[in-house]
Every structure is written in C-alpha cells, then in structure tokens.
C-alpha cells in the first residue's frame, strides 16, 4: 500500500507540472529588447579561422567588426576599413585604410598592426574558408593603411575581407595571444560580445552589448540570443509562438506556412544545383571524356520538369551562375534545350557512370530525377548517397571512383572558379581537370578591373557551359523568416543579412 501511495504522489506531481501553465507565461525569455535568432546547426567553431560560411557565421557577425561590411543588397560598406581598393592593375595588390578610435570589447584600442597580425594568423590557421586567402604573400602596414600583396590575382578581396568569409574579422591581441580561447570566447570589436555565463555551446549563444562599440546606433537590441533548433518545422513553430524572432532554419517548403502566420519571408541569394561532370578526361569513365557525351547529357534533361517536381524555391537553370549573380548570361539558358533525340545522336550508344551526392538541399532528389531522365536516352547513372555526412562525401569524392557529383554552391563565380573549377585541391575537382581555354578565361576573370568583371565572368561562364563541364539542373533560393523585426533588408545574391540594421518592430 505504501508503494501505491508513493505512486499517487508522483502522479500528482506530474499533474501539477501539467497544470503550471495556467499561472505562468510560455513566451520564455524573449523580451522586447532581445533578439532571438534560430539556426539549423551550431557554428563549427567560435574561432573565425575555423568557422564556415552561411548562417552559422552570425556568431561572428555580431561579435567581430569586419574590415568591410557586406550589405544585404550585395554592396559593401565601411566598417573597420573606411576606404579600400586595388592598387594598380591586375588585382594583385589591395589597400585598406583602417578607422581610428575603435575599441575592442575588452576596451583596448584597435591598432593597424592588429589587422596585419590577424590576417597573418588566418594565413597560418587552416580552416574551411582558407582557400579564399589563396595567393596572399604579404601583409604590411604603413600609417593607417594595410596593404595585401598577392602572387596570383584575386578580384573579390572586398568579399574576402567582409563578414561573409570571416577573414575581415579582426581579433584583439588578447585573442591572438591565446588562440585556444578563440573557440570559447569572442575577442572582437563588434557591436556585441559573447556572454559565456549564459551560453551553452551547441545549444544557444547569448550576446550582450559591447560597451566600447564605435557605432552605438547599430546596437538596436540589448541582447541577442542565437539558438540552435535543428528541426525546421519546430523552428517555424517557435517563430509562430514568438519564442524566436528570426528563423534562419527556413526552407522553401515552409515559406507559405510562415507567410500564413504573418511572418515576413526573405527569399534570395540563390545557389545552383548541378551535376559536376568531374571525370572530364575520361579516366574512369572514358565516355565522359568526350565533350559530345557531356553535351548529350545536358540535352537529355528536362530542367523545367525537374524544377517543378523539386517544388517551391526551385527554378530551372542551364548554367552554373544563378540569375542575378555575377556571370549570369540569359543567352546560355537556351544552349542545351531539352532534346532527347539530339542527346541520343550525340551519345552514339550506351553510357554508364557513377554519381555521388548528399541528401541536403535537394541534391539527392535532383540526382534521382536526372538519373530517371538520362535512362530514357540510354544513360545509366548509378547513384551513391552519403546521407548528410560531409566527411564521407569528401572521402568518396577524393577516391576518384565517381565520374559525377551532385552539389549546390552559392559563392561568387570567381570563388567557384578558383576552388572548384580550376583549383586542383578541391574535392569537387578530384580529377584535377585542365583545359587551356578554361584557364585563359579564368585568368582574364581574375585580373579584370572592376568595370570589366561582369564581362569576364560571363566569358568564363560561357566557356565551361560550351565544354559542358557541368549539368546544371536548378537554382534554389535561400530563406529567412522573421516576425516583429523591422529593417530586414533583402537577400541579394552574395549579399549578407543586415543583422545590424534589424530593429524591434513598433508595437511588438
């Protein structure tokens, strides 16, 4: 009987817990002066040298002042650097004038020498964004000016030294002297600083105002909490309930639902979903070395039908630059119209190849759809899926067992060209493809002056489309949902979310 009484007491406790809501609010900690942002996954590291790109970078956008601030419309604005530009011609020397009178969150002054030390630290610290520093040979300071010299041209250094790529995030001497602490604390001069006492790494990151920030008008919230909510449905419901203000774990399939609950939907910054036909010399799949075969594969795919099947947020595309991004050429869209008969005649027989992909971003769905259409013209594409395991994916890519890979990228065309098309260390170029025409077009792009960049990007794009190095399938939009937040800005190609412009909406 005693056991039964204890059991009854436990039941009563559980019932009490269930009844508690009646006398308590469920909104949680989201006060009007607190911005809560949902992320799909934790940042790879709090150390800017080791973090990747994408929404996870928000922990750095808040806490480190970049040299150059990328805006949501794709333009750049002064931050720690007041002026910047290439010196001379050829894009091999870049100079920045560093703002005076700026302090780190720890109260020490930002010195020009720290900018040099930070860039040198990044050069010596391997990380996922390291390839963006390719070619930098020297960094020097003179007066308020920092000069970066390169052995090979790089026309996108404003992008590289913005918050989008982390390399503009200047670290204080305290941080540089104790690099191990960069993974658990922040050492920047940004508007906010990490409150380690109220942060649980991997779950939520709390940022409080940097009392020494040089531009206090950009500190529109007293506190910013970045929360990891892995399930996109849950994240959207958290937005609906008011527990979250901005949901960066947003997908196309949830956009209508978000609009229905009164949220503002930011759509943009498209990436291109494509099959990278990587065995371009036909080393393991001889047929793939024939440009006519690669062109045939492009003719065999009904992109419009696939994009429709993939659902909201997807649009057909016939090139590796999405509409609105640098190098996009509308004329290339008609280069490989859907024409199975022409595909069969170009193929001249049966073709088999192996393809590897991931489940994320609709990659596997696209692979399946392309494979089904290729089968109609006598091409057998055997798909190997690595789930969501990027490690396994990279290992499979570098094994050189797969003639094609489905992937989605949304970096500037030059970056794609540098890493994944002409670069020899990228897993997306495992067979280290070389082609004189592609290399000439890349060199022209790399060294083109600002006013000639777009034409050079289009020319490069045209060469790789003509040689059918890819089988582009669809563009896919990125999304962010928000409620109760004003000044959201836009989501332009290669732009950054205007986190510092976000402000509490009147009456929220």
């Amino acid at each position: 009987m005693r056991i039964m009484k204890r059991a009854a007491a436990l039941v009563a406790a559980v019932v009490l817990a269930a009844a508690l809501p009646a006398c308590s609010s469920s909104r949680g900690a989201t006060a009007d002066d607190t911005l809560v942002v949902a992320l799909p996954a934790p940042p790879e590291s709090l150390n800017p040298a080791h973090n990747g790109s994408g929404a996870q970078g928000i922990v750095h956008w808040l806490s480190y002042e970049p040299l150059i601030r990328a805006k949501s419309d794709g333009s750049f604005a002064p931050a720690l650097a007041t002026e910047w530009g290439y010196v001379g011609t050829g894009n091999t020397e870049f100079a920045m004038t560093i703002r005076d009178g700026v302090d780190y969150a720890d109260g020490t002054r930002v010195e020009v020498a720290h900018v040099v030390d930070t860039i040198k630290y990044y050069l010596g610290s391997p990380g996922p964004m390291k390839p963006f520093l390719t070619g930098i040979t020297d960094v020097t300071a003179s007066g308020r000016q920092v000069t970066v010299k390169l052995s090979t041209p790089n026309p996108i250094l404003p992008y590289v030294f913005s918050q989008l790529v982390n390399w503009g995030d200047v670290i204080s001497p305290a941080g540089l002297s104790m690099p191990d602490r960069l993974t658990t604390q922040t050492f920047g001069a940004g508007p906010y600083t990490l409150d380690t006492a109220t942060t649980v790494a991997g779950d939520h990151y709390t940022f409080v105002k940097n009392a020494h920030y040089w531009n206090p008008s950009a500190q529109r919230f007293a506190k910013v909490v970045v929360r990891v909510i892995p399930d996109p449905n849950t994240a959207t419901q958290a937005l609906a309930s008011g527990q979250v203000d901005v949901n960066l774990n947003a997908t196309a399939t949830l956009a209508d639902q978000a609009r229905g609950m009164g949220a503002r939907v930011l759509e943009g910054n498209p990436g291109v979903l494509a099959l990278y036909l990587v065995d371009r010399a036909g080393e393991t799949t001889p047929a793939m070395g024939d440009v006519r075969v690669r062109q045939a594969l492009n003719h065999a795919v009904d992109r419009a039908a696939i994009a429709k099947a993939l659902g909201a947020g997807f649009s057909p595309v016939g090139q590796i630059a999405a509409d609105g991004t640098d190098g996009y050429d509308p004329a290339l869209e008609s280069r490989y119209p859907y024409d199975p008969d022409k595909a069969r005649s170009l193929l001249g027989g049966e073709v088999r190849f192996d393809l590897v992909d991931l489940l994320t971003f609709g990659m596997n769905t696209a692979s399946q759809a392309v494979s089904a259409q290729l089968a109609k013209v006598g091409v057998t594409a055997t798909i190997h899926t690595d789930g969501n395991d990027l490690n396994r994916f990279v290992a499979d890519l570098t094994s050189r067992e797969f003639a094609a890979v489905t992937f989605r990228l949304n970096t500037p065309l030059f970056a794609s060209a540098l890493f994944n098309i002409t670069g020899t260390t990228s897993p997306l170029n495992p067979f280290q493809s070389r082609d004189p025409e592609v290399e000439a077009a890349f060199h022209a792009l790399a060294s083109a002056p600002a006013e000639g960049q777009e034409a050079a990007a289009k020319a490069f794009n045209r060469v790789v489309v003509e040689k059918a190095w890819f089988l582009p399938v669809a563009t896919v939009q990125n999304y962010a949902f928000a409620k109760g937040v004003a000044n959201l800005g836009e989501f332009a190609p290669n732009g950054a979310l205007d986190v510092l412009d976000w402000a509490p909406e009147a009456g929220r």
């Binding site: 009987m1 039964m4 059991a7 436990l10 039941v11 559980v14 009490l16 817990a17 269930a18 809501p21 006398c23 308590s24 469920s26 909104r27 949680g28 996954a41 790879e44 590291s45 709090l46 080791h50 990747g52 391997p126 990380g127 996922p128 390291k130 390839p131 993974t183 658990t184 649980v200 790494a201 991997g202 779950d203 939520h204 929360r227 909510i229 892995p230 399930d231 449905n233 849950t234 994240a235 419901q237 958290a238 609906a240 309930s241 527990q243 969501n388 395991d389 990027l390 490690n391 396994r392 994916f393 990279v394 290992a395 499979d396 890493f419 994944n420 260390t425 990228s426 897993p427 997306l428």
Partner: protein
C-alpha cells in the same frame, strides 16, 4: 543484495570497455574525420596531414584508444576537438537535461501505463479491448510526428508551453517543468502503451489463478485481493519490461531532444557524431552506458525485492 550490486558493477566494467572500443572502431570505419570537419571541403593534403597529426589522428587506432583509456582511468575524458573544453564539463552540462527528460518520462510511463493497465485488467470486456487498441496506436505513433502535433496544438495554438528550449530547475522550477511537459509526453507515449499492455496481461493472468479464486472465495475484498496479492505477483514481468522501456527511452531521447531543441546528451550525440568529435562522442557513450547499467541494476534490485528467487541461484 550487496553481492548482487557488487556483481553487476563488476560486470559493467567489461561492458564499458567493449562499448568504448566499439565506438572507436565504428568512428574509425566511418569515412572522414575531425580534421576534414575543421578544414572543410577545400583543402590541400599538406594542411590536412598537419591537422590530423595535431589531433593525433595519424596514430594507430589501438594507440589512440589506449591514450584515451589511460586518460579515463586517471579521470580525464579529454577535450573537445573543436572547443578544447573538457569532455567531463560538456557532458556534465548536458546530463541534467537528459536526466530530467528521462526521469520525468519514467515517472509518467510508470504512473499512466500502470493505471491504464490496471483499469484494462480489472474492467476487461470492451474497456480492455479499447485500451488494447489505444496501446497499439501509442506504440505505432512516430515521435517526430507526435511532437509536431503537440507543438502546434499546445505550444502555438493554445500557447500553454514553450515550443523549444530548456530551463534549468535551479533557475526557475516552474519554467523547468513547463519546458519539459511536451518532450516528456512525446517521449512517454510509446512506453505508456507497452507498460499498459504488460500490466494488463500480467494482472489478468494472475487474477485467473487458483489462489486468487480461493482468496475471493474466502470473502477477501476485491481491493485487497488485487492490491495486496495480485499486483505483487504480476509486478515482476512488468518491472523487467519497464527496465527495457527505460533503456529504449535513451534512444528516443535523441530524437526528442533534436525536435524540441533540448541541450541534452541526445543533441550532443548528434553534433559530436556529425563533427567526428571522438572524445565528446566517447564521453556520451560512456555516460549512456552507465545509465543503462544503473537502470539494469535498479531493475534487478526491484526484481530481487519482489521475488528473492529471481536473483539467487
């Protein structure tokens, strides 16, 4: 009883060794490693080799395991590959969340499952069959779907509970309870169904035995027959099944913690696995293994109390 506890604890040591070694081997067999996670997809082989060497990943697997194991013996679980934080601190931060979730779920399963099972066994007929049906549905409902339904109805539409997150008991006991209501319900439904079915079956079986009929024939009140005699004899299989259900909750907690964004060991498991953060993963496995050992031990002790013959050869 002391011999029983001592024996079980001794037996847990090889189990811990075997599981930790298995985790090492499985992690080793998985393509990729922490160095690749740190460096990303675009990297040159020299940098990759350097990072592997710095992390000790270039050493033979046995050597890596031995290094980890000797550290554990000294009480050092190592540090996270990505943050450098001690694994013991990381796991220690997450453990209360998972223990809260599991503990409350166990209580709910025990109370509700037993209650439903008792009603089913005592009422029989249509009510019993109805409960059987409810139990089957409970076992069949996928936790992610149920969780989303609970969120939409109780957190968004009715605004009774938070959608996500966890509040520490020490910070705000009421908010702690609120933050766990939906995850506990989501995690418990399957277990309630299993326990209810087991209680109903075991009790119905006991109630049909001769000595129960004799007690009733002697005029003993039904309440006494059921609660003083029948339940005690029916409890042994129920306790054993309950132990299995609790161990099953460990796996379920990974899904539920992901769904409700609870910073527990389940969420940590997913992150550590995805990042190939082996020291953290080993720490979590160690912790889960100890939980399994404790659950089994408690189950054995309770079984021993109920039926001494069950634990003495």
């Amino acid at each position: 009883m002391a011999r029983l506890v001592g024996g079980r604890v001794l037996w847990s040591l090889p189990l811990l060794l075997a599981l930790s070694a298995l985790t090492f081997v499985l992690a080793w067999l998985t393509p990729g490693d922490a160095a690749r996670t740190i460096l990303g997809t675009n990297t040159d082989p020299v940098a990759y080799a350097e990072v592997r060497a710095r992390l000790g990943l270039d050493r033979p697997l046995v050597e890596q395991y031995w290094h980890w194991l000797t550290g554990v013996v000294r009480g050092d679980l190592g540090g996270s590959v990505f943050t450098g934080e001690p694994v013991s601190a990381i796991v220690g931060d997450r453990l209360p969340v998972t223990l809260s979730l599991l503990g409350l779920s166990a209580l709910v399963i025990a109370a509700v499952g037993t209650g439903i099972g008792l009603v089913g066994a005592l009422r029989g007929g249509l009510a019993g069959r109805l409960l059987d049906g409810v139990a089957v549905v409970g076992m069949s409902v996928p936790a992610p779907w149920l969780g989303l339904v609970l969120i939409v109805v109780f957190a968004v539409d009715l605004a009774l509970f938070p959608v996500t997150g966890y509040v520490a008991f020490a910070d705000a006991p009421a908010d702690w309870a609120l933050s766990l209501v939906l995850p506990v319900v989501c995690l418990s439904v399957g277990g309630i169904a299993v326990v209810a079915k087991q209680v109903r079956g075991a009790l119905a079986d006991v109630l049909g035995r001769g000595y129960i009929r004799a007690l009733r024939a002697n005029g003993m009140p039904t309440r006494s027959v059921v609660f003083r005699h029948a339940t005690r004899n029916a409890a042994l299989p129920v306790v054993n099944v309950f132990g299995v259900v609790l161990i099953g909750l460990l796996g379920g907690s990974i899904v539920v913690e992901q769904l409700f964004a609870l910073p527990g060991l389940g969420q940590l498991t997913v992150t550590a696995t995805a990042q190939h953060d082996l020291p953290v993963l080993e720490g979590v496995v160690l912790c889960f293994t100890i939980l399994v050992v404790v659950v089994n031990l408690v189950t054995d002790v309770i079984s021993g109390k109920l039926t001494p013959r069950a634990v003495t050869p």
